[in-house]
């Protein structure tokens, strides 16, 4: 275990990483993901395996790291949901709702989601400095994990407080607007992601049905002596060929859709949640500030100093959070729009290119 760099932050090279999640393999009950990482500045390439728990640990470390001003103002890149016990999706296909990317029949997609998570983490100017990141990305052995403590980020406690605090009016218009728009955008992004993934599923179903049809056309092709049967058989074979192409067409289209817009929408619906959490944390802090002010106002003289200190601390934290949050929000929107554009362009290009090639094939081969 090369732990040379773990204690001393100053030894670390904070340049970017090139990370690939290349493979997923089943190891008993769990899945391991094969990761290749290389720091841009050096030539060293690391190759190791990680389980989903390692990702969770990393995430936890990021959320609870110390010594970072305005930590709670950071929009943490969202971790993909935990995959089911098996990556086979026959059950998922019968379900109406697509709850996570893991359900769509593609472990490659899931690997890509994990990869994207690591990209986002290493691209974040603050998060990349966390030693846990380096521990994750450079060391062969997975990091030592302690039991993940459920802190303020525990969704359960949040749910209770949410109802009370979420609608707490903000003192800053910028943030109030952001909270409002986040609410609507989150809902719509989720809906769009869901519907789009359903399209992908249906496209896959059509591909399978085309395959069945194509196979069925091969049945009964046997006797060639009867001229009518022979002509019929020839037609069936031709149609079968065409259907095979149609099938590949749909498979490609589904894959393409998934890789571009599907991936993007799914990621951003999770990201919207992450932003929402950040804004909520800030709102909670706001409530703390206002409570502290109130307490200060109501405090008895001998407690006044203590209250004053609390108030000052709360104010300071709140300002730090707000400062970080503002930067994060702007950065987030920029990135979001850019990613969306990329996804839409890729979607369009692949669709056009594919349509062109299949039109060409069909025109050449349409003679029955």
């Amino acid at each position: 275990m090369m732990d040379a760099g773990i204690e001393d932050n100053s030894n670390h090279d904070f340049s970017g990483y090139d990370v690939r999640v290349t493979d997923a393999a089943q190891n008993g009950d769990t899945f391991v993901y094969v990761i290749k990482s290389q720091q841009i500045s050096s030539d060293m390439e690391y190759r190791f395996e990680r389980e989903f728990e390692d990702f969770e640990w990393l995430h936890h470390c990021l959320l609870t790291q110390e010594g970072v001003t305005g930590l709670h103002g950071i929009i943490f890149p969202p971790l993909p949901a935990k995959p089911g016990t098996s990556l086979s999706n026959s059950e998922a296909k019968t379900k109406k709702k697509i709850e996570s990317l893991a359900m769509v029949d593609d472990w490659q997609m899931y690997c890509r989601a994990l990869e994207e998570y690591l990209h986002l983490v290493t691209a974040h100017p603050v998060l990349v400095k966390n030693p846990a990141v380096h521990s994750f990305l450079k060391h062969r052995e997975p990091p030592i994990k302690t039991k993940v403590k459920k802190g303020i980020f525990n969704k359960l406690t949040q749910a209770v407080e949410e109802l009370r605090k979420e609608h707490h009016k903000d003192i800053d218009d910028f943030f109030q607007n952001e909270r409002d728009s986040n609410l609507t955008l989150t809902a719509f992004t989720k809906a769009a992601a869901e519907k789009f993934l359903e399209i992908v599923l249906t496209e896959q179903k059509i591909a399978i049905a085309c395959g069945h049809f194509s196979t069925a056309l091969h049945l009964g092709i046997g006797q060639d002596d009867d001229p009518a049967d022979y002509a019929f058989a020839k037609m069936c074979l031709k149609l079968s060929e065409v259907l095979d192409t149609v099938k590949k067409n749909f498979e490609k289209v589904a894959e393409n859709d998934l890789n571009t817009l599907g991936f993007n929408l799914e990621l951003h619906s999770r990201f919207q949640d992450a932003e929402k959490e950040m804004l909520f944390r800030r709102t909670c802090k706001l409530v703390d500030v206002e409570t502290a002010n109130k307490n200060l106002g109501q405090a008895k003289p001998h407690k006044k100093a203590a209250m004053e200190d609390i108030k000052k601390a709360a104010d300071k934290e709140f300002d730090e959070i707000s400062g970080m949050a503002k930067v994060e929000i702007q950065r987030y929107h920029r990135e979001r729009v850019r990613a969306f554009q990329k996804a839409l362009i890729e979607l369009e290009l692949a669709a056009t290119c594919f349509c062109c090639s299949s039109t060409g094939w069909l025109s050449l081969n349409s003679h029955v």
Binding site: T189, E198, I206, A209, P227, V337, F340, I345, E348, S363
Partner: protein, 519 residues
């Protein structure tokens, strides 16, 4: 076979048939009433003379009698075609001998009084060939369109009336273009009549579209949703195909019932086609009886062609059914895709609306539009190809039932012939017994009966040969049509595939500038 040439024995045979039928009370019942429309109809009457139209040029003659030319060709037919010979297409498609001209009313000999019915198919052979030549040549010009479904009436007594428009240049019709209003039971009635007239002599009568109590009830009740409009559209298309198939058949085209159906503005209501009427119940009972009968007929097949063909059609039936299932599931998924695409288009639009970044918002709205258009495209294609394919397949599955029915009719004809032979044998035995008993008057009666049954045996044999010949021809026609129909649908599908892809390219290319303009 010399006896064949003399009208009287024929006449007698016909007469006896006629009488027999009258006794059996089968003959003059309007075919729509108690006779079922399925291929396994009970022993129906031979063709009422009034309904036969044997020529292509004039209005239907009231009665048709054999005249000398026709006797000749009839004999020719029976002499040359035997059961053991392989399908003798060349004979059947020979050029009609110059002596035989299409039977026109003016060529008719004074109608005989007794034989009200004649052995029609022989005559049909020749004139039918000519009709076929006409049909295959440039002069066959007939276009039938079923359109404008209209709901007539209210509540459970309501029905859909369809407009049937015929455009033709054939001279058997009074005008070149005419249209009538018909309801679904009229179509069923037509089919019922045709089946009764033609199936038992071996013609493959195209089956009418199926009833659907559920579908019709929805329409009657007035549900104006997409499933009932779809149902009506499906039915309209099926009725159109049914009529097209029927008139493509050269014999059926000239049938007076068909012509009346297409031309006359008023049609007697075919009541007995209702599912739950008395006639309907009778039909079901008859069907059951038929099924039992079929199982007990064991025929000595002397012609391997028929056995092979039956097997072949069995295989084809299986294949078509499997294909139909596959296609149906494809159609279903296509519809699902269309629904999903529409839903996504809506949410993309909403997302676009709530987006602050204007360029992204516009791009998303554009995306929503593209997806909507794609949805339309999916719907059209789902209808245009797979749906049509599915309908064609189910048409053919039903047609194959009609084909099987015709083969069954042949078996029944054979059975009738055998029964006649058995009866003749009995009569002969009875006669020889009577000879010993020396009762002269009864002896005479016995001799008469023997002659009667000899005639029937001959008739039975002729019927059997005739039906075999007809079936061979019909099967040939069916095969050609099958290939043609499927080819047409497949070509259409391929064309629409190409078109769809090209259209998709256009939509996506229009979207690209919007996507690029985001950042």
């Amino acid at each position: 076979m010399a006896t064949e040439r003399e009208p009287p024995p024929l006449g007698d045979a016909e007469q006896t048939d006629f009488r027999e039928l009258e006794d059996g009370d089968d003959l003059f019942i309007s075919t729509a009433s108690t006779l079922e429309s399925s291929p396994t109809s009970p022993e129906p009457a031979s063709l009422p003379a009034e309904d036969i139209c044997a020529n292509s040029n004039g209005p239907q003659p009231a009665e048709i009698s054999l005249d000398d030319d026709l006797e000749d060709l009839f004999a020719e037919a029976t002499e040359e075609v035997s059961l053991d010979s392989p399908e003798r297409e060349p004979i059947l498609s020979d050029e009609p001998s110059p002596a035989v001209t299409p039977v026109t009313p003016t060529a008719l000999v004074t109608p005989r009084v007794e034989p009200k019915t004649i052995f029609v198919p022989a005559m049909f052979e020749r004139s039918k060939e000519e009709l076929e030549e006409e049909a295959n040549g440039d002069s066959f010009d007939m276009e039938i369109v079923v359109s404008d479904p209209e709901k007539v009436g209210d509540g459970m007594n309501a029905y859909m009336a369809y407009k049937v428009t015929t455009k033709t240049s054939l001279t058997i019709f009074n005008e070149n273009e005419f249209s009538v209003k018909r309801r679904f039971s009229d179509f069923l009635g037509l089919h019922s009549k045709l089946a009764t007239k033609y199936m038992h002599i071996g013609y493959i009568v195209p089956p009418a579209p199926e009833k659907s109590i559920v579908g019709m009830t929805k329409v009657k009740v007035g549900k104006e949703d997409s499933s009932s409009t779809e149902f009506v559209e499906k039915r309209r298309a099926a009725l159109e195909r049914y009529l097209e198939r029927t008139v493509k058949h050269p014999t059926l085209l000239h049938d007076p019932d068909v012509m009346q159906f297409l031309e006359s503005s008023e049609l007697p209501r075919a009541v007995s086609t209702q599912a739950l009427s008395g006639a309907g119940i009778l039909r079901m009972v008859n069907k059951a009886a038929e099924a039992v009968n079929k199982m007990t007929i064991k025929m000595n097949e002397s012609d391997a062609w028929f056995e092979e063909k039956q097997q072949q059609f069995e295989n084809l039936d299986q294949q078509l059914r499997k294909l139909h299932t596959s296609v149906e599931s494809l159609v279903c998924h296509r519809k699902e895709l269309s629904v999903n695409t529409a839903a996504f288009a809506k949410s993309a639009a909403m997302l676009g609306n709530s987006e602050d970044h204007t360029a992204l918002s516009r791009a998303l709205s554009q995306l929503a539009e593209v997806e909507e258009k794609i949805d339309q495209l999916h719907q059209e294609q789902a209808y245009a190809d797979f749906y049509l394919f599915a309908e064609l397949l189910s048409d053919y599955v039903r047609l194959l039932t009609a084909v099987k029915g015709v083969f069954d009719q042949r078996m029944k004809t054979w059975q009738k012939w055998q029964d006649a032979q058995a009866m003749l044998q009995k009569k002969r035995e009875a006669e020889s017994k009577l000879q010993f008993a020396n009762k002269p008057d009864k002896l005479q009666q016995a001799k008469d009966e023997i002659r009667e049954w000899e005639g029937k045996v001959q008739q039975g044999e002729r019927d059997f040969e005739q039906i075999s010949k007809t079936i061979r021809k019909e099967v040939g026609r069916f095969e050609k049509e099958r290939v043609r129909d499927f080819k047409a649908v497949i070509i259409k599908y391929l064309e629409s595939l190409v078109q769809t892809q090209q259209q998709l390219i256009k939509y996506w290319e229009a979207f690209l500038p919007e996507a690029k303009a985001i950042a």
